[in-house]
């Protein structure tokens, strides 16, 4: 193997931006100054006490943190373990995505940027970006696949109401992958005054690490809350869905070096792993480079990226973040492929048992519980990454 690919035992990003074999910054020279500016400054900016004060204040007063950790008793009885739900669905804008956009817009301001560009799949990250741009008075341009714009019309309207310009990505499959390509092209064309707020733990270094740090508030709170509720800050399992993997990265972050805590990732199998309509990246992918990092990627033998499919627009991505690729390869994480039907059933089940309608993305994490062979003594934290209001039109087809 090549020099930068030496395996690491650590789950922290290396100086060159690698997690084990995965990561790096595979970017055209046109993006080098921007990415390098970010790489050189992000740790200092984040560590600055004034930044920390502003970030935490906004998380508390604007986002509504800490989000509750809720013991789901009826669900626990049903699946066999002791299940706690980390209620990221109660964040302002309805999902965990805003933790990251708050952090990144504060970074962008400190870098003197005047304009924000972002990509979005389901629209949750787009809404979270448009929200913080409104809050900070920065111009906001969101690229969204034209097919996703049709599938997620309410989120398009929300973004527009928040003052963002939503640009349809009409290339390729016209979904998240293509929206990301278009956002990168926009950034290439506007390198000096624009910051690209990537919505997941994907992209060139330092994005995966920066986004994971902003989302790490999830596991930071879980530790404290679980200690108060159970006397131990460590559960047996942490479960989260993985598209790109930002809520999973946040939920796993403070447990990465706690080997007694199993990290469980739920990927979208779509109509089934072998159906040809799937987004189960670790089951179907091979190492490759997409959107600036080396990761596990769904691709043809010739290295062309395969269009993924999932009922959940937020999991409809052909890669995963390089941290997750490393968790998979090193065996640190357990990866389950959850079909559309299993996710829908889990979504309906949570609604009826606990009175909480989950996002279809989060429903994939809930469906993994059924496959885990849990004992009543097992303490399980599920990251309930978003609320299901945006998915009502999909759910209603199966009522």
């Amino acid at each position: 193997m090549q020099t930068t690919l030496e395996p690491q035992t650590s789950f922290e990003v290396s100086d060159k931006g690698f997690y084990g074999h995965f990561g790096g910054a595979f970017i055209p020279e046109m993006l080098y100054p921007n990415v390098e500016e970010l790489r050189q400054n992000y740790l200092n900016i984040i560590a600055d006490p004034a930044f920390q004060a502003e970030f935490w204040q906004l998380l508390e007063d604007y986002v509504g943190r800490p989000t509750p950790l809720f013991l789901a008793k009826r669900l626990s009885e049903k699946v066999g373990g002791t299940v706690y739900l980390k209620r990221e669905d109660l964040c302002h804008t309805g999902a965990h995505k805003v933790n990251n956009t708050i952090g990144q817009i504060l970074v962008a301001k400190r870098l003197g940027k005047k304009r924000i560009v972002a990509e979005t799949g389901a629209g949750q990250h787009g809404v979270a970006t448009a929200t913080v741009c409104a809050l900070m008075g920065l111009e906001c341009i969101v690229y969204m696949g034209s097919i996703d714009m049709e599938r997620q019309k309410p989120n398009v309207d929300r973004m527009r109401m928040l003052g963002a310009t939503v640009v349809p990505a009409t290339s390729g499959s016209q979904t998240l992958k293509d929206a990301t390509n278009e956002a990168m092209r926009h950034w290439i064309n506007n390198p000096v005054d624009t910051h690209y707020i990537i919505g997941s733990v994907v992209g060139p270094h330092p994005y995966p690490d920066m986004v994971a740090r902003f989302q790490s508030v999830i596991s930071q709170e879980v530790k404290k809350q679980l200690l108060a509720k159970t006397g131990s800050e460590n559960p047996n399992y942490v479960v989260a869905c993985v598209g790109g993997g930002s809520n999973a990265a946040g939920a796993f972050y403070h447990y990465l070096n706690e080997p007694s805590v199993r990290l469980v990732a739920a990927e979208a199998a779509g109509q089934g792993v072998t159906s040809g309509h799937s987004a189960a990246t670790t089951a179907l992918g091979k190492p490759g480079v997409l959107h600036g990092s080396r990761t596990i990627l769904m691709q043809t033998e010739d290295g062309q990226v395969i269009e993924p499919y999932s009922i959940s627009a937020g999991l409809d991505y052909p890669g995963i973040g390089p941290l997750h690729a490393h968790l998979f390869e090193s065996g640190r994480g357990d990866f389950y492929a959850i079909t559309d039907d299993e996710a829908l059933q889990a979504g309906f089940q949570l609604s009826k048992l606990e009175g909480i309608i989950p996002a279809l993305e989060s429903a994939h994490a809930l469906a993994a519980l059924e496959k885990m062979d849990l004992k009543p003594s097992d303490v399980v934290v599920v990251c309930l990454s978003g609320r299901g209001d945006k998915d009502l039109s999909t759910y209603s087809k199966y009522l």
């Binding site: 090549q2 020099t3 930068t4 690919l5 060159k16 790096g24 910054a25 595979f26 970017i27 055209p28 020279e29 046109m30 080098y32 100054p33 290339s171 390729g172 992958k177 390509n181 990168m184 092209r185 290439i188 064309n189 506007n190 390198p191 000096v192 091979k286 190492p287 490759g288 480079v289 997409l290 959107h291 600036g292 990627l297 691709q299 033998e301 010739d302 290295g303 062309q304 990226v305």
Partner: protein, 295 residues
């Protein structure tokens, strides 16, 4: 062939600051294995024209006839695009040509098969023009970097441009393989590239430096602005050891002329793809295009 080692395709290096650690007697061997691109720049240093087209576009088997058409029209370097599903540095025109080429069934395997006999001339006029392959790193990784370089050498490809393989990752992981097979890796600079980084790129590059004319993706720039001219002048004044070709936004005689005033020549891509779509792929059509650029 594999026994011929070279630290660089640039023959000037042999007599200047590097000798790859080989004793002087061996340096002759390196000069004998001339690369067509470095060779070109020793013979010609002005108004070089490099034309890009996408392999397998508009039809799968157009690759070699377009290559021959460009050679017959007198272009100095031909840059063949290896189509990719996610070409982030490319604008709409080249994106669409990539999509079409992939639909047509183009792949690296097919491309190497198409190029296999062109240098020998067993399938038509021998192709002698320097050839670059341009594309993205992922298909090359899946093909296998060493196998890729070996194939390039075998079919007579002289160099590659892989925009999403940054220089530092190239040097860490792949430079020895490229050197072993004598394949040049052409690097890009942009108006935002710092002087220190340009010096670093110049030091580590062979063949030529690809100057991206403005902060942009391909095919999105119209004309040469004052800001661009100032950038061209700034780079010209740096006295880099590598020749320079300017690309992005070079689409007619006027822009080719301006670029040639500040560099050793220019690269035309999207404009040629549009021409192929609108005016066809015949030798006459290609000749006419090249004439309008050179005038």
């Amino acid at each position: 062939m594999r026994t011929v080692r070279r630290c660089s395709g640039n023959p000037r290096l042999v007599v200047t600051d590097q000798n790859c650690g080989f004793p002087p007697a061996l340096q002759m061997t390196q000069e004998l294995t001339q690369n067509r691109i470095t060779d070109l720049f020793t013979r010609k240093s002005e108004r070089l024209l490099n034309v890009y087209f996408t392999a397998g576009f508009p039809a799968l088997n157009d690759t070699v006839s377009i290559l021959r058409g460009l050679q017959a029209a007198g272009v100095d370097i031909v840059e063949i695009g290896m189509p990719y599903s996610d070409p982030v540095a490319d604008g709409e025109t080249i994106q669409q040509s990539n999509e079409k080429a992939l639909e047509n069934g183009m792949s690296l395997k097919t491309l190497f098969a198409q190029l296999a006999d062109c240098r020998k001339g067993t399938d038509g006029d021998p192709v002698t023009v320097p050839i670059l392959l341009m594309g993205y790193i992922n298909p090359v990784l899946q093909y296998g970097v060493e196998k890729f370089c070996q194939k390039c050498q075998e079919v007579g490809v002289d160099g590659v441009i892989l925009p999403d393989l940054p220089l530092d990752l190239f040097l860490d992981d792949y430079a020895p393989i490229f050197n072993e097979y004598g394949i040049l890796n052409v690097n890009l600079i942009t108006p935002q590239t710092s002087e220190a980084r340009i010096r670093h790129i110049d030091k580590e590059s062979d063949g030529f430096i690809y100057m991206v004319s403005s902060a942009s993706i391909t095919g999105s720039v119209k004309g040469v602005s004052d800001t661009m001219q100032a950038y061209f002048e700034r780079i010209a004044a740096m006295n880099l050891r590598n020749p320079r070709l300017i690309g992005f936004g070079i689409n007619n005689h006027e822009t080719f002329d301006t670029a040639s005033n500040y560099a050793n020549g220019a690269i035309v891509g999207s404009a040629f793809i549009r021409h192929l779509s609108e005016k066809g792929t015949s030798a006459e059509s290609i000749q006419a295009f090249v004439q309008t650029i050179r005038a």
